[in-house]
Amino acid sequence: MNTPAVSIRDLSFAYTGQEQVLDHVDLEIQPGERFGIIGPSGAGKSTLLLHLNGILRGRTGKVEIGGIPVGEESLPEIRRRVGLVFQNPDDQLFNPTVEEDVAFGPLNMGLSSEETVGRVEKALGAMNLEGFEKLSSHHLSLGERKRVALATVLAMRPDIVAFDEPFSNLNPAMVEQVIGIVSGLKATVIIVSQSIIPVLAVCDRIAVLNEGRIAAVGPVDVIASTG
């Protein structure tokens, strides 16, 4: 039997002093799958994503990435395997230049500068950002910043790329562009989104999250037809 890319079992979580945000969540995502998680605002989607690489850890339940339980000792390995792309690229870009932002992850992984330089080049190339190395990202357009943010994640060569609301605040042309980019990725892809239509266009399977509970899981056509 295949080891799932992501396995979440009976995960519950509450922010300190607040009510339950995730309520006994069970989920299994297979390697190479494009998996969508949809649900209304406040359903707990972003909170769930932050559990995938141990930024948040539930008091009960278990999260495994490629068979490795997420825990204190496994964090470096987990963060290498799971790349999170945040909703707002400006949260992800904080270095003075594009190349330093893209190099941040590989350097944290302890790679040599030669290897890092190679990865920066490849990641920027994959996002059509050749020649952007020395620019500062806050001078770029939103579309370009989104691609730089994805490049910072791709440079770590993650097995899983998880996107938080990749389609929010985008015009239709940019939604098309993001769909194209996401479809081209070789990694396992997880997309969390309030906008259902682009998720239907990209994903193989979808889970519906509502008030912290998985309300339905299934192939795109089944979920789409049941509404």
Binding site: R79, N88, D90, D91, E100, A103, F104, N108, E114, H138
Partner: protein, 264 residues
């Protein structure tokens, strides 16, 4: 979203913009040090430095209104510091000949003049050079990499803060048409609270994003990256390659301020 770039006038063309970033770093730091070190009972010396700042500002072509707005931002804090000085500063009861001012008022005035000078000098520095070029300059001058990284993070957080200010200002303006009157002070209070909470939340998200990419509290050695052949920064490879205009500026401007400082 339109950013309120700290270095938003850094693409202008002026004699100051054309100078080497290393020269600007050294000269502006020197001016700052000279002004800050003026004894606090000599506000007149500080006042004499202001024409020098005005000339630099004029040379830079950075809009005066922009610099004034930056000064306005710090005014409440400056006045508060000056007020504290007026109330609690030491008094020798010594009256300065001809002015009748006591030491407390002189010290308070000095604080105000120094604070605005610092804002003007730093605004000029960041408005006449792209921020990452200043960082390269700092590295080329041999300053520790950590200092550069810390400046970059402070710069980053300044952005977050200014974005929140713009966001909440727009939200407030869209709800309160017309000029704001004192009766709407509460709106300002709410805005300040919102800005604080949102900035805090966003810095949390930025921190999460950093951790997601393997950050464990230690900044990766980007300096190693820089020194490798492939990416030696253009400044490093041009070390010593200053133009005559750079040298003239580096000599004349600090010398002028030093003269005012010593004999003003």
């Amino acid at each position: 979203m339109q950013h309120a770039f700290l270095d938003r006038y850094s693409d202008l063309d002026s004699p100051l913009h054309r100078l080497d970033p290393r020269v600007k770093l050294v000269v502006f730091t020197a001016i700052l040090l000279m002004m800050v070190s003026v004894p606090r009972d000599e506000p007149l010396t500080l006042l004499l430095c202001y024409p020098g700042l005005a000339i630099l500002l004029a040379l830079s072509r950075v809009p005066v209104s922009y610099i004034l707005r930056r000064c306005l931002l710090v005014t409440p804090f400056v006045l508060m510091a000056a007020g504290v000085m007026m109330l609690t500063g030491e008094t020798n009861g010594r009256a300065v000949a001809g002015t009748g001012a006591d030491l407390r008022s002189l010290a308070a005035l000095s604080i105000v003049l120094k604070a605005f000078a610092a804002v003007i000098v730093l605004s000029l520095l960041t408005s006449t050079e792209r921020f990452h070029r200043l960082l390269e300059g700092m590295r080329a001058l041999g300053l520790p990499p950590l200092l550069g990284v810390l400046s970059a993070y402070m710069y980053r957080y300044a952005f977050i803060l200014s974005e929140e200010v713009m966001r909440t200002s727009r939200a407030r303006l869209s709800r309160t048409p017309g000029p704001l009157r004192t009766g709407r002070i509460r709106t300002y209070g709410n805005q300040a609270a919102m800005i604080f909470i949102r900035s805090w939340e966003r810095s949390q998200t930025v921190y999460n994003a950093m951790c997601s990419r393997g950050f464990t509290g230690e900044f990766p050695p980007t300096s190693d990256l820089r020194s490798s052949d492939l990416r030696s920064s253009d400044l490093r490879s041009r070390r010593g390659d200053l133009r005559s205009s750079d040298l003239v500026f580096a000599l004349i401007v600090p010398a002028t301020f030093l003269a005012v400082r010593l004999w003003g």
